[in-house]
Symmetry: C2
Subunit: 235 residues, 2 copies
DNA sequence: CGCCACATTGAAGGCAGTCAAAGGTGGTGG
DNA sequence: CCACCACCTTTGACTGCCTTCAATGTGGCG
C-alpha cells in the first residue's frame, strides 16, 4: 500500500458524494487519504478492527467470506465509484468479511471517527449514506434468494441477463459482452465452483442459448435465459 | 387491519427512537399511525409499492422470499421493538420481500415521504437509521454465509447456540430454552425444510448433544454444538 | 520455451429436497 | 369436557443436483 496522485473531484464518481457542495467535499477529502494496492492484496480481513471505509477510485475489489473448508462466497464485486465497508463502521467492532483486490487498485480511505463527525452536521450526506447502505441491503436480499432458493442454472442465467443488459452491445441478433472477471471468480460470486460453472455454460451452449469464446459471451436466446432465470411457472 | 390503542412512548422500545428528544418523538408520532393485523396476514407482498415502513409494537412478523417452486426462505424474524422495511423506502420502488404476521400483531406505520422529511432536519435520527440498516446488512452477510457455505447441521447448531445464549436458562448441567416459532418456521429460517430439520434434530439427540421435547430444547453439549457450528478444523 | 493459473471434462459420492404416509398436538365449537 | 379437524411433526424411500477428486487441455507471460 502506498499513496498515489489524487484529485478531490474523483470522489464525485461516487453516488454518495455526487451532489455535495464543493466545501463539504473539501472537508471530506481532509478526513481521509489515498491508498493503493497491487492485485491480489488483502485490504482487510474478516475480524479486523473496522477503522474506516473505502471508496474505490480505480481497479476492482471483491468482498467475500470463506467456509471452514475454504470455499469462497463473493458477497460483492466493487467497481470504481463504489464504496465498501461503510456499514461496518457504524456498528463498530470489526469487518464482517474479507476485501481483496482483483486488479491493481487505488482507494480513498475515510477514517471512521472523522467521517461520522462530518455526518453529524450534514443531513444530506447522512441520507446518501442511508441510501447507499439500503441499496447494498437490497442486493444482499437478492443474493440470499439466489443462493438459497435458486439452482445454479437459474443463478447463472440471471447473471448473464444482467451483464447483457448492463454491458452488452447488440451484434445483429445476439447481445455480446465480456466477463469482467475470470470464470473461477464468477463461480464464487454465484456461490458455486468453477467445474460446475463450466458444465453449466457448456449445457447452455449445447442448447443454443448462448455462445462462449474465452470470456466473451453471446446471448442468442434472451427469452430462454429469462425462462431459466426465474420463469414464474403457473401451477 | 384496524387501529388500536397507542402510546407514543411505545416507540422508545425501538433502538432507533430510544434516545430521541420528546418533541421529535411527538412529531414522528404524527407522521404515522397504528395498524393491527391478525395472525397470518400479509402486511405487504414482494413487489408492492413501498409506501412506508413499520415498527413492530406487539406480536411477531416474518420477512421472507419465495422460490418458483414455493419454498420459503425467511430473511428475518421481527420481534417487538424491531423495525422492518426501512431500507425499502430509501430506494423507492417496491418492497423486495414478503412481510407476514406469525402472531396477532400491532405495528406503527410511518409514511415514507413524511419520515424522510423529518430525517432531513434530524441528523441524530438519520445516524440511527444508518446504524439500524447497517445492522441488518451485517445479519444478512451472516445469512448468506450460512446458507451458501454451511451445512444444515452447522446452521442448526449455530442457531441453537444463539438461542441458548439469548433465551436459555441453566437447569443443572443443561441449558434449556423454548423455540419461539414452530419447527416448520425454523426450518424456513435455516433455509431448509421441516423434514430435514426433523432428521437433524433426531441425529443431534441420538448423539447426546441436545434433548428435544415439543418446542423445548435442552443443550447437553455446548462444545459439541460449537464444533458442528463452525469448528475451524485444522488441516 | 516452459511455467502457472485458469479451464474443461469425466467419474463418483453425498447432502439435502421431494413424495408419501402415518402419528401427534392444539385449538375450537358443540 | 370432549371430539373433531387442521396443522405440525416424524419417518422411510428415493432422487438429483452439485461438490469433490483427478487428469488433461490451454493461454499468457516472463
Amino acid at each position: 500500500m502506498n499513496n498515489g496522485t489524487f484529485n478531490v473531484q474523483e470522489l464525485r464518481r461516487c453516488l454518495m458524494f455526487k451532489s455535495l457542495p464543493e466545501q463539504d467535499l473539501a472537508k471530506l477529502a481532509e478526513a481521509g487519504s489515498v491508498r493503493s494496492f497491487p492485485k491480489k492484496s488483502i485490504i482487510f480481513a474478516e475480524g479486523d478492527e473496522a477503522k474506516g471505509f473505502y471508496v474505490l477510485l480505480e481497479g476492482m475489489v471483491k468482498i467475500y467470506r470463506i467456509s471452514p473448508d475454504s470455499r469462497e462466497q463473493i458477497i460483492h464485486i466493487i467497481n470504481p465509484g463504489d464504496t465498501f465497508a461503510e456499514a461496518a463502521i457504524f456498528i463498530g467492532s470489526s469487518y464482517p468479511a474479507f476485501a481483496e483486490t482483483i486488479l491493481d487498485s487505488r482507494c480513498f480511505f475515510f477514517e471512521k471517527k472523522r467521517f461520522i463527525e462530518i455526518l453529524r452536521d450534514n443531513p444530506a450526506l447522512a441520507l446518501n449514506v442511508v441510501i447507499s447502505v439500503s441499496m447494498m441491503l437490497k442486493r444482499l436480499v437478492e443474493l440470499v434468494d439466489s443462493v438459497s432458493l435458486k439452482s445454479v442454472d437459474a443463478r447463472l442465467a440471471k447473471h448473464l441477463l444482467e451483464e447483457a443488459v448492463r454491458h452488452g452491445s447488440r451484434k445483429g441478433d445476439v447481445t455480446v459482452f465480456v466477463l469482467p472477471t475470470t470464470k473461477t471468480e464468477l463461480a464464487k460470486k454465484l456461490g458455486t465452483v468453477s467445474e460446475t460453472l463450466s458444465r453449466t455454460l457448456r449445457r447452455f451452449q449445447d442448447d443454443d442459448i448462448i455462445t462462449v469464446d474465452k470470456r466473451t459471451i453471446g446471448v442468442l436466446d434472451m427469452e430462454g435465459l429469462q425462462e431459466i432465470a426465474g420463469g414464474e411457472q403457473p401451477f
